[in-house]
């Protein structure tokens, strides 16, 4: 944070021209600079203000940001990054690159030469910065140069003795004096600017460069000098942010030095020579920065927050460094304890108590370190006990002195104890339980005591001093204590009870907590005893059911414990609901249901199989009656469940019917009590909700009928089952009007449906004769059909709205039966024709007598006929009087289909929607199939295309759009066909062959038809509405693109497609057809994808030397794509007046974006893949700078952003990948650092120079 200029005036020498006052800002800026700007130079904001046009200032009357304002804010971000950060990063890279050159380069220059060169670069940066700093516009740009110059100067001075490749001074002390002088000059000079940027860059870069070349412990003296200087500046200037980076740099420098000596694993207990010196230096750092923290005076909350970060970093980094160089791990306990105690003690000093945040930080840090120290010396129960003591001590102290920090420390330490109980002590209990099931008294008592302490905290302390625990997070923490208590109580129950009695213990705790929960109205206690109930149920399921015992044998323990636990659950249900809302009732219901489930389990395990339906239905009736008596209707639901289980038991018992009486299986009789019970419940059911009564009655009566159907299925001989069911259905239909219950009619329809299914599945397949050539199939199906026709008029309840639908279903079923009967009787080749004639007859009868059912049956038969023609008749080879049956039958079918398209009746709305053309579609399909059969494979696609062309012209001439639609389908099929026959036809290398002379006419036809669908043609308006014009245009271009795919070699395809893109752009502009622009954009994506996948990653590993290898092919494609940019800019200008739409519309209106980004992406990837690994980043940097310059030349902001992002990506790659890559030589490294750094500085310079000009374009 920069202090206000008025509070700390600049030195006298600069008093006449303070940076913050020199330019008078003409207007306040509309854009609030982000925090980074505040860290920057004092004059930075003034710079923005002075260059912002006054007209751009927002009006206070406009509450919401306009699009222009949002653009401006984005621009502000780019400007800040471009002007403020690129130069800083660039300077850092240059300094590091020069430093690496000095350290690693041995062959080019001697030590003296490199020192001179390094000093020259330092002075150039320093001089350039000082020179530019005098001009207001370049002030922000100049500060990093000054800082970088000083840091390089300091490092070069350091290198005079400490860098082997640059050593020209042999005395350590002489060099130390030089470093002190340079550091002093650096402090004095950089403070003149009162800029954290200058000072920060100078110091931090000095740290970094020094860390590159540390060779012995004495080289760390440079770090000590920098740390002292930094703290002095921080205390004087209150630049606490700088101290944060200083701490990071100090410890990082030291850790890097340790890493180079000890490796990635650190000391790991092995002594090393500089251990004591290193420890002393680390403690010196800690003391220095801690003193800075204690004695500072903060003036704002932000100061305090930043100081907190510094305080935490200081201790954490110290501990990390000590751990890394740890030689005596056994001292960790004492180290943590002493440092923790010191931190806690400092936290109680009056100077700290006046700063609340500092008090909290140091107290918590100290307490945390002391608590964390315990496991380094103690283990087992001692840890939990010591932590519990500490927790209670903190809690008591917090309550006694009313200090929230201590109370929360106590509560959190209690949580730590809970975690220890769960993670350690409970694990030990589980291990003990795996061995045996004996009572674990010691552990059980411990858990019980812990449960008592935690419940005291939660239920007593929390209630007694309620004022301390009323707010978050204290209230949550105290609740958590109660959960820890519940966990401990459950663990104690498990430890102190074994076998069948554990479930009873859980149930007992559950019941106790239920009573307490009811008294305290505590949701948390409800949750806890709910979980305990689950535990009890789990225990019952695993242990008390004794499911491994022999079936239907009596187990005394089961007979005793299950009713007791069930009773506990029923009792808990009584106490469970705290009030009468739905949630609480549901909660109570769960416990009641658990009780019922336990009794049901008892029936399942104890009652013999054949008697279980009776027992279950009896229990169901009992529950129903008890529920009515005690006024708890929920039990009726339990009765329903038991009723369903009884039905299930009845139909599943003795499934193979082994046990019989007079050839009738006994399980049919076992179902009868259930039927009786069901009807009993249907009669007796009484609940408050009458809807439920009606629903229950309906369900139970349907269940009874279903059971009757099942009984008939079991008792009647197989061929006559369908007949018996239809008789039952007829009987039900006759009974319905007598008893007046409408559901009986629906049940008759359902039974009839069963009869239909049975007839189709069984009776149609029967072959046995019945009498004098009449088959049994004919007799039974005739009876069923007769019954269906009867039911179609009699089975529907009076006044039902479904009467017509039911009648339809029954007559359709009868007609279908007759149709299938014909299928069994008529020979294969003529069946389609017979069906077609049958359909025609039905249609004619309907047309004459208006019998609605028959019309739809005619449609269905016509569909069947078509299906039969396609699947069977196409493959019939027999002849009739020398004429192919296939030809004759298909001709009859085709003629009848065309006749039906004119004759058949259908609702007017369907005819208006041209549904009758389904028949003409079917005829066209048959014609297409004939074309396929008659022509050679190579000609089929062309034949379909010509057929489509003719259909299209006919449809256009007669204004019948369905013919045109059929034409589109034929053309699309033609397009698809070329992929299977035409594109691979001919000989390889043959340019004009069957491929070209069959595919090109198809493309021509497609484009011709597309051209007929222009906006001026009114006939084809509907076609355009369905976007057939777009489809045809895409198919035409797709044909050409596919042809090129097979005509050109794989390498050059990308260039060929790029040329097509160019042509499409020309067509789009010349014909004013956006569709070609869309295709061009899509093909651009395809070209780039192809280029990346095939030419970059799919290319050979070793074809770089050929002229088509490394760069030429892709470069040509990139060049052709970039050549489309003028077209793209013209299109953008052409579309400027169009309204804005979604993002796709935005892409189309701004094709120049894609046409720039796609080739640039291709170029970037080409550089990445084809360039030598060490030079990729450098190439990207140069590419980025070129893009930025190009963007400035044509004033295109998005292009500039791309260049900027690529520059940042180069930097990120360098930082994240290259530095860690073994393939990056030192030469590559320093060259890349310097070149990319220079590119960044130049880019930043351009941003600075043209900032006002850029604003004019917004």
């Amino acid at each position: 944070m920069r202090p206000p200029a008025a509070a700390t005036p600049p030195p006298l020498s600069r008093a006449q021209m303070p940076p913050t006052k020199a330019p008078a800002p003409p207007a306040p800026t509309p854009v609030t600079p982000p925090p980074t700007a505040r860290v920057g130079a004092p004059s930075q904001q003034a710079t923005f203000r002075s260059s912002t046009p006054a007209s751009a200032a927002p009006s206070s009357s406009v509450p919401a940001a306009t699009a222009q304002q949002r653009m401006k804010s984005v621009f502000a971000l780019e400007e800040i990054l471009g002007r403020n950060w690129l130069n800083k990063i660039g300077i850092v890279l240059i300094v590091l690159g020069v430093a690496w050159f000095g350290i690693k380069e041995f062959s080019q220059l001697g030590a003296f030469g490199k020192v001179v060169l390094s000093y020259l670069v330092s002075l150039a940066l320093l001089g350039g910065g000082v020179f530019l700093e005098r001009r207001e516009r370049y002030r922000v740009f100049s500060y990093p140069c000054i800082g970088g110059g000083w840091s390089l100067l300091f490092w070069t001075t350091y290198a005079l003795n400490h860098v082997a490749a640059m050593r020209v001074v042999s005395s350590v002390s002489t060099d130390l004096i030089f470093m002190l002088l340079v550091a002093l000059a650096m402090v004095v000079h950089t403070l003149r600017y009162r800029s954290q940027v200058v000072t920060g860059i100078a110091f931090l870069l000095a740290y970094w460069t020094v860390s590159l070349s540390n060779d012995n412990v004495y080289s760390l003296t440079a770090g000590v000098i920098l740390a002292i200087g930094l703290v002095a500046i921080v205390i004087k200037m209150s630049w606490f942010e700088l101290e944060v980076f200083g701490i990071l740099s100090t410890y990082a420098n030291h850790l890097y030095w340790l890493y180079r000596r000890l490796g990635p694993g650190g000391a790991a207990g092995h002594a090393f020579p500089d251990y004591h010196a290193s420890t002393a230096i680390l403690l010196f750092y800690w003391v220095t920065y801690r003193i800075s923290y204690v004695v500072r005076k903060t003036k704002s909350p932000m100061h305090e927050h930043i100081s907190t970060v510094a305080a935490l970093l200081n201790t954490l980094l110290l501990l990390g460094a000590l751990k890394f160089q740890s030689v005596q791990p056994e001292l960790a306990f004492w180290a943590l304890l002493i440092i923790g105690a010191l931190e806690f003690s400092m936290g109680q000093l009056p100077i700290i108590r006046r700063r609340r945040e500092a008090f909290v930080v140091l107290s918590v840090l100290g307490a945390g370190l002391m608590i964390g120290a315990v496991p380094f010396r103690y283990s087992g129960n001692n840890v939990a006990i010591l932590w519990l003591i500490g927790a209670e001590a903190f809690l008591a102290a917090g309550v006694a002195v009313s200090e929230v920090v201590f109370r929360r420390l106590g509560l959190l330490a209690g949580l730590l104890v809970g975690l220890h109980l769960a993670g350690i002590d409970f694990q030990e209990l589980m291990v003990a339980r795996r061995v045996n099931d004996d009572v674990a008294l010691a552990v059980g008592v411990m858990f019980a005591l812990c449960a008592a302490v935690f419940y005291v905290n939660a239920l007593f302390v929390g209630q007694r001093w309620r004022q301390f625990f009323g707010d978050a997070p204290d209230v949550q923490l105290i609740y958590v204590h109660s959960y820890v208590g519940a966990f401990a109580a459950a663990s104690a129950a498990w430890a102190l009870f074994s076998g069948d009695w554990t479930a009873l213990a859980f149930a007992g705790v559950m019941l106790t907590l239920a009573v307490l929960g009811q008294k305290l109205k505590s949701f948390h206690l409800q949750l806890q005893y709910g979980v305990l109930g689950l535990l009890a149920l789990y225990r019952v399921a695993v242990v008390n059911l004794h499911s491994d015992a022999a079936q239907y044998t009596h187990v005394p323990a089961r007979l005793i414990t299950l009713p007791i636990v069930a009773a506990a659950f029923y009792l808990t249900a009584k106490w469970a609901a705290a009030n009468e809302d739905n949630n609480q009732r549901f909660f109570r219901g769960l416990f009641a249901f658990a009780g019922t489930a336990l009794i049901t389990s008892l029936i399942y395990y104890e009652v013999p199989e054949l008697w279980q339906p009776l027992a279950a239905i009896t229990f169901a009736v009992l529950l129903l009656e008890v529920g009515k008596q005690i006024g708890y209707p929920v039990l009726a639901w339990h009765a329903h469940l038991l009723g369903a289980l009884a039905a299930l038991a009845a139909v599943t018992v003795d499934p193979s019917g082994v046990q019989r009486w007079q050839n009738i299986p006994l399980h049919a009789f076992a179902a009868l009590p259930v039927v009786a019970g069901a009807y009993w419940i249907a009669w007796r059911i009484r609940v408050p909700n009458q809807d439920h009564v009606r629903l229950g009655r309906l369900a139970y009566s349907w269940a009874g009928t279903a059971m009757m159907v099942w009984v008939l299925n079991e008792a009647v001989p197989a061929p006559w089952i369908a007949v018996s069911w239809i008789v039952l259905a007829v009987a039900l239909a006759l009974i319905m009007p007598r008893i007046g219950y409408r559901q009986i009619g629906w049940q008759a329809n359902a039974v009839a449906a069963c009869s239909i299914v049975r007839s189709y599945n069984f009776n149609l397949a029967m072959e046995q004769p019945f009498w004098q050539g009449i088959s049994l199939r004919l007799v039974t199906i005739a009876i069923v059909a007769a019954g269906l026709y009867f039911l179609s008029r009699k089975s529907t309840p009076p006044g039902s709205e479904s009467r017509r639908a039911i009648a339809y279903l029954h007559t359709f079923a009868a007609t279908a039966l007759l149709t299938f009967l014909a299928w069994h009787e008529v020979s294969s080749g003529w069946l389609a024709a017979v069906w077609a004639v049958f359909a025609l007859v039905l249609a004619l009868v309907d047309r004459r007598f208006e019998v609605e059912d028959l019309r739809w049956q005619a449609h269905a038969l016509a569909a069947l006929t078509m299906l039969r023609s396609v699947t069977v008749n196409l493959y019939v080879l027999e002849t009739w009087h020398g004429v192919s049956v296939r030809l004759l039958s298909l001709a009859i079918v085709a003629v009848i289909l065309y006749a039906l398209s004119r004759l058949i009746r259908m609702p007017e709305e369907l005819r208006e929607r041209e549904f009758h053309h389904i028949y003409s579609w079917a005829a066209s399909v048959l014609v297409s199939l004939l074309v396929w059969y008659e022509l050679k494979p190579l000609s089929v696609a062309v034949g379909w295309a010509v057929f489509g062309l003719v259909l299209f012209e006919y449809g256009l001439w007669r204004r019948i759009r369905q013919f045109r639609f059929q034409a589109y389908v034929a053309l699309a099929a033609s397009f698809g066909r070329i992929f299977f026959a035409n594109l691979t036809a001919g000989n390889p290398g043959e340019f004009w062959g069957p491929r070209t002379y069959t595919v090109l006419p198809i493309a021509l036809i497609l484009f011709f038809v597309y051209a007929q669908l222009g906006p001026e043609d009114q006939t084809a308006r509907a076609d355009r509405g369905f976007h057939f014009d777009i489809l045809l245009a895409y198919l035409g271009t797709g044909t050409v693109v596919a042809l090129l795919y097979f005509q050109f070699s794989n390498e050059w395809l990308v260039t060929a497609w790029a040329v097509v893109v160019f042509v499409l752009f020309g067509l789009a502009l010349g014909l004013d057809r956006p569709i070609f622009l869309h295709q061009a954009l899509l093909l651009t994506l395809g070209t780039c994808t192809r280029g990346v996948m095939h030419n970059l990653f799919g290319a050979s590993y070793f074809t770089g030397s050929g002229w088509t290898g490394r760069y030429v092919v892709l470069s040509s494609a990139i060049a052709v794509l970039l050549a489309c940019l003028p077209f793209a800019f013209r299109w953008r200008d052409h579309e400027k007046a169009q309204p804005s739409g979604n993002w796709i519309g935005a892409v189309v209106r701004h094709p120049e974006q894609l046409m720039f980004f796609a080739p640039v992406l291709l170029l970037t990837l080409m550089l990445a893949v084809k360039m030598r690994a060490g030079m990729v980043t450098l190439a990207w940097g140069i590419e980025a700078l070129s893009i930025i310059i190009f963007a400035f030349l044509i004033n295109e902001r998005s292009f500039r952003l791309v260049g900027f992002l690529l520059l940042m990506a180069s930097f990120a790659k360098m930082l994240l990948l290259d530095i860690w890559s073994g393939a990056w030589s030192w030469t590559d490294r320093y060259i890349t650092f310097v070149i990319v750094g220079v590119a960044m500085v130049l880019a930043s310079f351009l941003y600075t120079k043209y900032s006002e000009k850029i604003r004019q374009f917004l």
């Binding site: 493959y875 199939l929 396929w932 059969y933 022509l935 050679k936 494979p937 190579l938 000609s939 062309v942 034949g943 295309a945 010509v946 062309l949 003719v950 012209e953 070329i978 992929f979 299977f980 026959a981 594109l983 691979t984 036809a985 000989n987 390889p988 290398g989 069957p994 002379y997 069959t998 090109l1000 006419p1001 198809i1002 021509l1004 036809i1005 011709f1008 007929q1012 596919a1042 795919y1045 097979f1046 794989n1050 192809r1090 990346v1092 996948m1093 095939h1094 990653f1097 799919g1098 050979s1100 590993y1101 070793f1102």
Partner: protein, 300 residues
């Protein structure tokens, strides 16, 4: 009027295409080759980036090849003296050709004594195997050099190594586990490679053979022989339903074995010869193995 004229022109173009295609006597096989080729190209291209980014090192590849080659070591011990001489001949030609490969790998050349095997294949890291049946087809040493150079280029251009990567990925093999490679059947290596890879091996193999002084027409004469054999085995569909059934089968086969047709390979070979100006290098060395047998032992 203009519209009617345009319609007539387009219709005539279509009819002309129809006429010429109907008059064409060469049968056109209906297959999904075009789609399969595009799909295979796309699949290959999609796999190339991961292949490049996770490429095996030379040492790993050599170790993999050694492990796979151990399975063939037993058959090598059963060679007759004549077959030993034949293998020596193959080895001599192979060693000579492999000197010009890009990568310095331990190339080795082996004979598979099976006269029904008209195939050759290579394993990662260097081993190359030639079937005796394929040698029976050859009439010149240049043809042998072409075949061996083709297989060397499969190794040289990482086709074998990438196949290991793909198979390991498909079969969920951990290459660090000894014996895991044995789960890759040898038919995988004998099945050939993707179309582009075969073309690349043909093209670069021809250059390799020419660098060693052999005639590029060795490859041409061999492909002419393959083309003749191929045409004898192709069956053309006579009806749409045959088309559809063959299409389904060919699609399935072709997807996994998208070998280029011999005619396509022949066309590329002639194209490379024309491009490099090698038309005058027609003279081929005879396929000649000299050996003697004395007391049941082979003598060179």
């Amino acid at each position: 009027m203009k519209r009617a004229l345009a319609f007539l022109v387009v219709l005539l173009a279509g009819l002309a295409g129809l006429y010429f295609s109907q008059r064409r006597n060469d049968p056109t096989p209906v297959s999904a080759n075009a789609v399969v080729a595009m799909a295979a190209d796309a699949q290959r291209d999609l796999s190339r980036a991961p292949m490049r980014l996770t490429r095996l090192s030379d040492d790993e590849e050599i170790a993999v090849g050694k492990e796979l080659a151990e399975e063939y070591a037993a058959s090598a011990e059963k060679l007759t003296p004549e077959e030993q001489a034949l293998e020596g001949y193959v080895r001599r030609v192979g060693n000579s050709v492999s000197l010009h490969a890009h990568r310095r790998l331990p190339y080795s050349f082996h004979l598979l004594p099976d006269r029904a095997m008209m195939n050759a294949f290579s394993l990662p890291g260097g081993p190359v195997y030639v079937g005796e049946g394929l040698l029976d087809l050859m009439t010149s040493e240049d043809e042998l050099a072409a075949i061996l150079a083709h297989e060397i280029e499969h190794i040289d251009h990482y086709h074998c190594a990438e196949r290991v990567q793909i198979e390991a990925r498909l079969r969920h093999l951990n290459l660090d586990i000894v014996g895991a490679l044995l789960q890759i059947p040898f038919q995988v290596w004998e099945a050939g490679y993707k179309k582009d890879e075969e073309f690349e091996a043909d093209r670069e193999g021809m250059r390799l053979a020419v660098l060693d002084g052999y005639s590029p027409y060795g490859e041409v004469t061999l492909f002419e022989r393959f083309s003749k054999l191929h045409s004898e085995y192709v069956i053309h569909a006579q009806s749409p339903e045959e088309e559809l059934s063959q299409l389904a089968i060919q699609s399935l086969q072709g997807y996994f074995r998208s070998h280029p047709l011999p005619s396509e390979r022949l066309a590329q070979a002639n194209s490379v010869i024309a491009q490099e100006g090698w038309q005058d290098r027609r003279t081929q060395k005879p396929f000649r193995v000299e050996y003697e047998v004395q007391n049941g032992k082979y003598v060179q």
